[in-house]
Symmetry: C2
Subunit: 340 residues, 2 copies
């Protein structure tokens, strides 16, 4: 716990470095700091901060750059806790509501908003990993051999898709599917929807097998989407950031592969949490990457995780309030959607 002045200096270094991306020197700091002390004094303080591990020097005669530990301290103790301006909140709420007529894409739309707002890639993870059950399965025939399927889950997610069946969808086929769905699907936990399980169900369809099997596969896909699918929005931001661009491809591959799932398998964090660099990333190359994660609630229950992926040098003071607000807003809208 450094002195008050050291803290001011650390904060200034983080902020200046975030703006320019260049190491910060004592002279520059002198201009910015409210304390009227000489550059030499600041140099002394900086030397001590460096000894404590909060600062690093790219080379002997360069300014200082915050270390991971420095960032961590800044975020945990020095970050001004701003709120978004109320007008902006209002505007965002309206935007999201306007797009919310489609429950199916609500999460994705929240991500889109977040990505635009923060100029980072947004991350939507619907599932909390616990106790997700099918609330309802609905089917509507669509021509002779197509049907629209919808799946509602206990966490308020809605998924639908159109499926083509292998043979004509007779009233009997629909009846068989309806019975199977009532008996075996509704109320079942989403993890249950594996290939073998669905196949065993399909076997019960008897003569209607060709029509019913694709439907069951469709339901399984919907379940998988509703349960596990993490979505990335605004990937191109990764490539547009100069700090991230060299590793952007690696990072994207990592996120799209199982890596992300593994990272988030413990479910949403309790509060807004900031993961810095490879502090918590398994991959070695991802030094300059930051993830900010926030949970959202559905009613009283835990929902999923909303987050952003961006460079280490990001405007935390803006990004964190934005994330907080959108996560809360999303939670509220999902909660509303649930009670009906």
């Amino acid at each position: 716990m450094p002195s008050e002045r050291k803290r001011r200096i650390l904060a200034a270094i983080v902020e200046l470095y975030n703006e320019t991306g260049e190491p910060v020197g004592s002279k520059r700091l002198m201009e910015v700091l409210p304390d009227s002390v000489s550059s030499a004094t600041i140099r002394n303080e900086m030397a001590e901060l460096a000894e404590l591990g909060f600062l690093e020097q790219p080379h002997t005669s360069a300014g200082r750059v915050p270390s991971l530990q420095g960032y961590r301290y800044y975020i945990d103790h020095l970050l001004p806790q701003l709120e978004m301006p109320p007008e902006q909140k209002k505007a965002l709420e309206e935007q999201l509501r306007a797009r919310a007529r489609e429950p199916e894409r609500l999460l994705e739309n929240a991500g889109k908003l977040l990505a635009e707002l923060t100029a980072c890639t947004a991350l939507c993870v619907p599932c909390a990993g616990v106790e997700l059950r099918v609330k309802r399965v609905e089917i509507a025939p669509l021509g002779r051999s197509m049907a629209m399927l919808a799946l509602l889950t206990t966490n308020g997610a809605v998924k639908s898709k159109v499926i083509r069946t292998e043979s004509a969808l007779s009233p009997q086929a629909l009846e068989v599917f309806g019975a199977l769905s009532r008996e075996h699907l509704v109320g079942a936990p989403l993890e249950l929807f594996t290939q073998p399980f669905l196949q065993s169900l399909a076997a019960k369809a008897g003569t209607e097998f060709l029509a019913v099997a694709p439907l069951l596969i469709g339901v399984a896909e919907l379940a998988r989407e509703a349960a596990g699918q993490e979505v990335l929005v605004g990937e191109s931001h990764l490539f547009q950031n100069p700090q991230l661009e060299p590793q952007a491809k690696t990072l994207l591959d990592f996120l799209q592969s199982a890596g992300l799932a593994r990272l988030l398998q413990d479910g949403p964090p309790a509060h807004v949490s900031v993961l810095l660099g490879n502090e918590s990333f398994p991959l070695p190359d991802l030094r300059d990457v930051t993830m900010v994660l926030a949970p959202y609630a559905i009613g009283a229950a835990q929902g999923g995780t909303l987050g952003i992926v961006g460079p280490l040098r990001m405007d935390f003071a803006k990004v964190i309030p934005a994330l907080k607000f959108i996560a809360a807003l999303l939670g509220r809208m999902l909660t509303q959607g649930l009670e009906e």
Copy 2:
């Protein structure tokens, strides 16, 4: 119409340049060409090709690079007309069929396949711009104030989404919507689905306005998606190509803005067509961009356009057959989907 040998030289230059990205010199050509002539002779030929406008020189003492006109000539007259190997065709067909259980995403899936295959960004434009009508509108209630909507069009496209209504979806509301849809929606051309039109319809809903209006808006959105929405797949390829990367952002903005629509407003090309650089692009910065477009048919009727966007330096000999095949395959599958 240059001599046979000039043509061989031009072809070799284009191919070598495409491989390496570096200007091609006379010595290098001598090694590659089947003719056993000296480098001096080749230099003479190159000088003449340059005078004809087929080649350019980055600077005096560098090799030659194909000019736009050179590329054009190569593509129009020199490109070997390859076919894809049958095994690959078969594999692709299987892959697309596997994903085709979802008619809604068929086009997108074809684009995905194309993007992977060519390592370019793929481009899917469903609409031919002519005579698209609503074939069928289907609704299925989903809980008290949600409904699943589906729209089938005469070109075989299927779109669905889930909509939340402003008030409960009573049987009467469904009845009103059904009547409106039967009378005014089915058979209507997609261009008709403007905001004013839908509002005038909603006005007829009377007391069920709150429930029916969102549904109508939903139908309008579906119509817009089915009709106009061009989709880009694999945008990240743009950023991964060294030749394109500096202008990738500009290009992406252009494609995502109205630019693309304007470019394709005349409907699909008659045959596979190659647009080179700013030969046909309105934007000045897009020098090194190539688009290859192919039409696909649905039954006997015109379908839409499938295409790729990539660097000038691409392997046309591979890309064009791939595009041709996938466009044809897509056409076949859409045609099949239509007859039911």
